[in-house]
Structures are given as C-alpha cells and as structure tokens.
C-alpha cells in the first residue's frame, strides 16, 4: 500500500482522467470527486482505474437532454458515473428524477449528489436493485440499505435517483466521518492510474530540451 496525500490523489485523478480521454472540465470533476471520496475513507482508486479503462476503450456512453429528461444517448454502452454525475449536478434544479442504466461504480455518484444537494438544498435519493441511500445538504447522508461499504463493492448497477423526494423514515441524519488527510492506496491501483497520466505528457525532443524551460545559459552562480 502507498500512503498518499489528498492533493496527490486529486492531481493524479485529474491527469489520469484527462489521459483517458475526458475533456478538461470533466477531468476536473473526476479529480474533485476522487478527493471527496478519499477524504471520507471511501474506496476510490480501483473504481476510478476501472472507469478510466472503460472510458479509454470507448465502452462508456454519454447522455442527452430530451427537453424534459436526461437520457442515456447510447443504448448498448455502460453509463459513465463522471458524466452522469456532472449531469446530476448541472440538471438537479430542473429534474425530479434521473435514471442511469448500467452505471459503472455508482459510488462515484455520491460526490455529485452531495454537490447537487448543497446547490438546491434538498436531499437526493439513490436506488439500485435492493440498495438505497440518501445524500442531504450540509454533509449529511443516510444509508437506508444495506451499508456504505457495500456500495463501494458494486461495480455496475442500474441507478435511479430521485431529487427532493424522500420519505420521512429515510431522512439523511448521519454526518460523514471526520475527513482523513491521507489515504492508503494499493500500489497496483496507483500504477493503473499512472498509466493514463502518462498520456498527458509530451515526450522530450532536442528542441524542447534546449528551449522548453528557457535554459541554455549557465544556471549556476
């Protein structure tokens, strides 16, 4: 295991997401979400690597706006939780429901649900098969069934979200655990992410070695 800081997590997530093909703005969302998950001791690294591998392989679909709903734009692909999460936070004020079929690692919707809930001031209910969870404003949440740890283990699920519709028994009353400022990450996950980070770098050439950093004069005194 590797002990890393939240800043390292955010930076690696940004670069690796970009390297896997996300636009910069979505890579920024992935980076913030990774930091959010890690800060709450939720398992983020293996799931992010899986999401980026699917993204780079073209196995993740996008979304479209019908005028009343957000729908998956490609029927035979898995839903991307980063793009789906961005849709949730962007459209939350005008949506009552959002359905993301075959979402990879639905855990990744939590940071976006947190953002959306804070933005509009109402809880968001997440449901997939027998599991239910609610994310509320001001850092509150409620695990209705079965447990937060279990959510981390779900690698693909049809995910239904209801915005602002929560039964009284499901109110988010828990607060996220005290935030960690470092995180243990399996080295194999870190390497999988670094694989994508690598694609954001430009190989050196003779020209760039001479001019890129403005060197070429004696730099010692």
């Amino acid at each position: 295991m590797l002990e890393v800081s939240l800043n390292e997590i955010e930076n690696l997530a940004l670069k690796s997401a970009r390297g896997s093909g996300f636009d910069w703005g979505l890579a920024e969302e992935a980076a913030r979400a990774a930091r959010w998950l890690a800060a709450r001791n939720l398992s983020w690294s293996g799931s992010l690597a899986a999401i980026l591998e699917a993204n780079a392989a073209g196995r993740l679909g996008g979304f479209a706006w019908t005028g009343t709903d957000v729908v998956s734009s490609v029927d035979d692909l898995d839903s991307c939780p980063i793009r789906g999460g961005a849709c949730l936070s962007d459209f939350a004020p005008v949506l009552a429901r959002l359905f993301l079929p075959r979402t990879l690692h639905p855990l990744w919707l939590l940071p976006f649900a947190d953002t959306a809930s804070n933005l509009i001031g109402v809880p968001i209910h997440l449901r997939w098969s027998e599991h239910r969870m609610v994310v509320g404003p001001n850092g509150t949440f409620g695990v209705v069934a079965p447990s937060l740890q279990h959510l981390s283990m779900v690698s693909r699920a049809d995910l239904a979200m209801e915005i602002g519709i929560v039964e009284a028994t499901d109110l988010p009353v828990e607060k996220w655990a005290r935030r960690a400022t470092s995180h243990m990450v399996p080295e194999s996950d870190w390497r999988r992410l670094q694989h994508f980070e690598h694609f954001t770098y430009v190989p050196a050439s003779e020209t760039s070695r001479l001019s890129g950093a403005g060197a070429g004069i004696k730099d010692n005194d």
Binding site: E3, W24, A64, W65, R83, A86, D90, V202, G212, A213
Partner: protein, 564 residues
C-alpha cells in the same frame, strides 16, 4: 478629521491591474507573505532554538531549528551535503543539492530524523508523511559561500561589495508544500492561525533556512580556522537573504488558482483604495512614506541585472524615483486626498515599475488599513468549483462580453497569437512552453489558453438558443466545461483572470513569476531569460536571535544608509 471617502471608484479595474506587464512590475507590499509571517512571530514572541547541529568540516551533517509559538512548534530539519561543484545546478530537475530540508510538524524524534535522512536528501524520489509540511533544497552560491568561509576562517570579514552583489549564501531551487510527495495537505494546517494565510509554512521554512546558512558558514570557518576564526558581523548577516531560482514550474499556478489570485489581488487593491480614500496624511505617515522611498533608493542601487528588458527599466525607475521625491513634497501631502493624488500623478507620469512601486510605498504607512486584509487572502477553492447549470446561455454570454473583451479582441487565426502551447514534459514532469508550428505535442496542451478557450465558448454560446441552460449546453459540449467554470467564477471574483493571451508570441512567463514572488515578498528580481529568474528572500530581515529586540516592520525596504 474628516471621514474617509467611499472607496467606490477608487478600486483599480481589473483591466488595468490584471495585465501581464503590470503584474510583471509588482513589488513587495505590507501584505507580502514573509512580512506577515515575521510580524506574527514577533507579536506572539516565537522562540527559535537549535537542538541539533552535527555538521562536519566539509559541511556535511544534520541540524534542526525548532520554532516554538504559543500553541505549537515546528522544526526545520536540515541535511547538509558535500557536493562536487560540477553537480551543482539551480534547475528544478537536478538530482543532488548542497542542502535539503523538511519542515516537521512538531518536534521530531531521532527516529523521525533518521527516517527523514533516508528521504529528504532524495527530494522528489523520497516519500513523506503527513508530519512533514514542507520539502525544500538549496545550493551554495558559488560566488560567495566558499569565499565567506575562507575569510571568516582567517579571522576577517568578507568583502561587503561581493556580499551585496550576491545577497545570499544559498539559494533554494524548490520549496514544496501542500501534499507534494506525500507531505501534509494544506487541510491539515489551514485551521491553525499561524499557518492559515497563504504560504506561511513555506515562508517559515525559508526564514529558518536562512539562519542555517549563517550558522553553517560560521561553523565551517571555525573548524577550518580554529581560534582565529571570526563570526560573521551581525550587520552583514542582516544583508544576507536566501536566494531563489524559479522557472516555468511556477508559471501556471496563477492561472490554475483563479479564486486564490483574486483574493491576493483584491486584498492589495482594497488596501490601496482605502488608503487613497483617506482625506489627509499624518506627519508620522509622511515620514514613513519618505523613509521607505529613501530606503528603496539605496536598495535599487544594489539591484542589478543583466536582463536586456529589466535593466533599462531599472534605469528608468531610478529617474522616476527622483520624480517621486519631487512630487511628494509637504505641499502635496497638505492637499485633499493626498494618497489618491500621488497615485493619480504616478499613473500618468512615471513608468509601470514606478507606478507599482508607488502602490507599495503608499500602503507602507498604513498598517491598520492594510494588515488586517491579509486574513482575506486564503481561500477554499472548493467553494467556487460548482457550475450553476441553471444559468442561461444568454446570461453567460453577457458575463463573457462584460469581462473578457480583452480575450475576444484577440485574433487567434493569426499565427503569433496562437504561437505557443503549454505542456508537461514527460522527461522532467515540469511545465514547459512549446512552439505550436514546429514542435510536436500541441494536442496535449494544458488548459492555460484561457483567452482562446473563452472565445471558442462564446462561439458555441451564440449557436445556442439564448434561453437554453448551461446544463443543456454542457451535455452536448463537455469540451467547454472548464471554461464555463472559469467564467462563472470570474463573475464573482473580478481579479481572478490574467487578462492577456498566454499563448501569444509576446508572452513573458517571468511576468507571472514576478507577480507571485512579489506576493511572497521576494526582492531583487533578476531574470536569466524570459522563462526563469533569481530573486532574494528575507534580505535585511531580522534573524531568529534578533526577534525579541525592537522590531522594524519595514525591514524589507533595507537600511536607510549603508551600515558599514
């Protein structure tokens, strides 16, 4: 005394302030981070001790400097190395250094020091824990270090001209904070009053490194010279700061942290506007202003550079100083709104270097106005991250047209406006600038071409239904997401954006560096190309053992006259 005028209308607009040439003319002010650090250390009576100093005759070994305040202690752990001269380089990409450092959170045990000794000398190649707050390294000045040791070993003091021409015994080549290589995230320390402000842990590190450099030369001289060895004259110690060599690695910072740069600039501009709104100047304030001006004149005479752009600007600045002396007579200060009058006069009379110096000079006599604004300079960047998807395309278009005229006026079909691209080098993992037409890798461009991207976003917006929401735009055009975020952020933070084309042929990256370094409180900017420069930090600052004495808050301006 009359009430101060409203500052409305006295805030300098971002179109005036946020230009590269203006940012590249900035000087330290009362709000600079190293000044705030020392004010606090003095006010709170921090004490610095040296629990460990185990250095051999060739300057290799370990030392610790423990700074203890009202609630907490921090310890600089120093590793000194005996480096062959041919391996010494200022470049961030070097792999060995004369000295390496870590600022430890608290008091390290011998086990901690041993662990740091396995890692800190390797810098980026080592791994660190949350107990380490800062990682840094420094090289000896080839011109000065050995010379000073040799002089002291013979019982003599070093030549003051040589000492002044360099200004430091060691220069840092990197000072890392905020989670780099496993060290503590800023979250760990952001709630502590002494480290809540920007870069306070880094500034404390550099100040303690400076103390170490003095102790190191005296110790090596004593080992070489025995009983006849001298200590460095205390007045000369004051004149030695710490050098710093900074390159492109720092340049993207200001673009990537728009909320932070807004807070820095807004604090400075608010302080300036409040001072300009004062109806009159007291005798004490006038004396303080004139003292800073005199001290800067002497400082300027020692500020040398071979840079073909800055050298003539400094020559003009010297001429401008005499104009400033001439204008700031008793009669000028007797007028209504004297500080405003000085700023207005400077804006139409003297060079950019001098205009920005006048900003620093008029802030100097006003600690009660300027200093409290330091508290507003830190930021929680998460607070500005969320995109408001409800906003209409028309509303964003209006925001762009209001704040980005400078970007929209740029014609990116012209090769010189689109000439450069920022990238990260695979070989060095550092930001670099490439030529779009002749170098490979432009498709891997970093998102620093703000002007071009805003222009592209505006084109996309004009093709949309004006009433459509940004959520609808972004679901179809995720490529604009990072730019939408910036524009929304900027609409609440007018100093967030550097209002120039950062990929045009006219860009000088050292302008970005100078802006940031002036906020640190660096002086004697000495560009070595348009991409990197050397500066001096903490020159003329009190040393740790001088802090309990009467504290000169204006130390950074230097002495009024040459002390020896």
């Amino acid at each position: 005394m009359q009430a101060a005028k409203s500052i409305d209308g006295l805030m300098r607009p971002p179109d005036q302030v946020m230009r590269l040439d203006r940012l590249g003319s900035m000087h330290q002010t009362r709000l600079s981070f190293m000044r705030e650090l020392l004010r606090r250390l003095h006010r709170e009576r921090w004490e610095v001790s040296r629990p460990v100093f185990d250095i051999g005759p060739r300057g290799a070994g370990v030392a610790t400097y423990q700074a203890s305040g009202p609630e907490r202690a921090y310890t600089l752990v120093c590793f000194a190395h005996d480096l062959p001269p041919e391996l010494r380089s200022d470049r961030v990409i070097a792999e060995v250094w004369d000295a390496t450092f870590s600022l430890f959170d608290g008091v390290p045990t011998t086990i901690d020091i041993d662990r740091l000794g396995q890692n800190v000398p390797r810098q980026e190649a080592g791994r660190y824990r949350q107990t380490e707050l800062v990682l840094a390294r420094a090289n000896r000045s080839a011109r000065l270090f050995d010379n000073v040791v040799a002089c002291l070993a013979k019982g003599c003091q070093p030549d003051t001209d040589a000492l002044d021409s360099v200004g430091y015994l060691m220069r840092t080549t990197a000072v890392y904070g905020n989670g780099k290589f496993g060290i503590a995230d800023r979250d760990r320390i952001a709630g502590r009053p002494e480290l809540a402000g920007p870069f306070q842990a880094e500034m404390l590190t550099v100040w303690l490194i400076r103390a170490f450099t003095i102790d190191l030369v005296e110790h090596m001289a004593a080992l070489a010279g025995g009983r006849i060895a001298a200590r460095l004259d205390r007045r000369l110690c004051r004149r030695l700061g710490i050098g710093n060599a900074t390159g492109l690695g720092m340049a993207p910072f200001l673009v990537r942290h728009p909320a932070l740069i807004h807070n820095w600039m807004a604090a400075r501009e608010t302080a300036l506007a409040r001072v300009r709104a004062l109806p009159s100047a007291s005798r004490q304030q006038i004396d303080c202003f004139r003292s800073a001006l005199r001290r800067f004149s002497l400082h300027l005479s020692r500020w040398t550079t071979a840079d073909p752009v800055l050298a003539p600007r400094l020559a003009t600045l010297a001429v401008d100083l005499s104009l400033i002396y001439g204008f700031t007579s008793d009669a000028a200060f007797a007028a209504q709104l004297p500080w405003d009058a000085i700023c207005r006069w400077a804006e139409k009379t003297v060079s950019l270097e001098a205009r920005e110096l006048v900003v620093s000079l008029v802030l100097e006599p006003h600690p009660a106005i300027a200093d409290p604004l330091f508290e507003s300079m830190a930021t929680d960047e998460l607070a500005s991250f969320t995109i408001d998807g409800r906003m209409s395309c028309q509303a964003l278009l209006t925001l762009i047209d209001r704040s980005y005229a400078w970007a929209l006026a740029t014609d990116f079909s012209r090769r010189e406006e689109n000439r450069l691209f920022w990238y990260v080098s695979e070989e060095k993992l550092e930001p670099r600038l490439g030529e779009r037409a002749t170098e490979a890798g432009a498709e891997l461009e970093q998102p620093l071409a703000v002007a071009r991207d805003v222009k592209l976003l505006r084109e996309a917006l004009t093709a949309c239904d004006p009433a459509a929401s940004l959520a609808q735009l972004l679901i179809r055009h995720p490529e604009h997401r990072h730019t939408v975020r910036r524009v929304q952020l900027e609409s609440q933070r007018p100093y967030a954006e550097i209002r120039d084309n950062l990929i045009g042929s006219g860009v000088r990256p050292i302008d970005l560096l100078r802006c940031k370094l002036s906020f640190f409180g660096a002086t004697r900017f000495d560009p070595r190309s348009d991409k990197w420069l050397r500066v001096t930090m903490f020159q003329n600052a009190p040393h740790p053992n001088e802090m309990p004495d009467s504290y000169d808050d204006g130390w950074i301006w230097g002495p009024e006259e040459v002390p020896c």
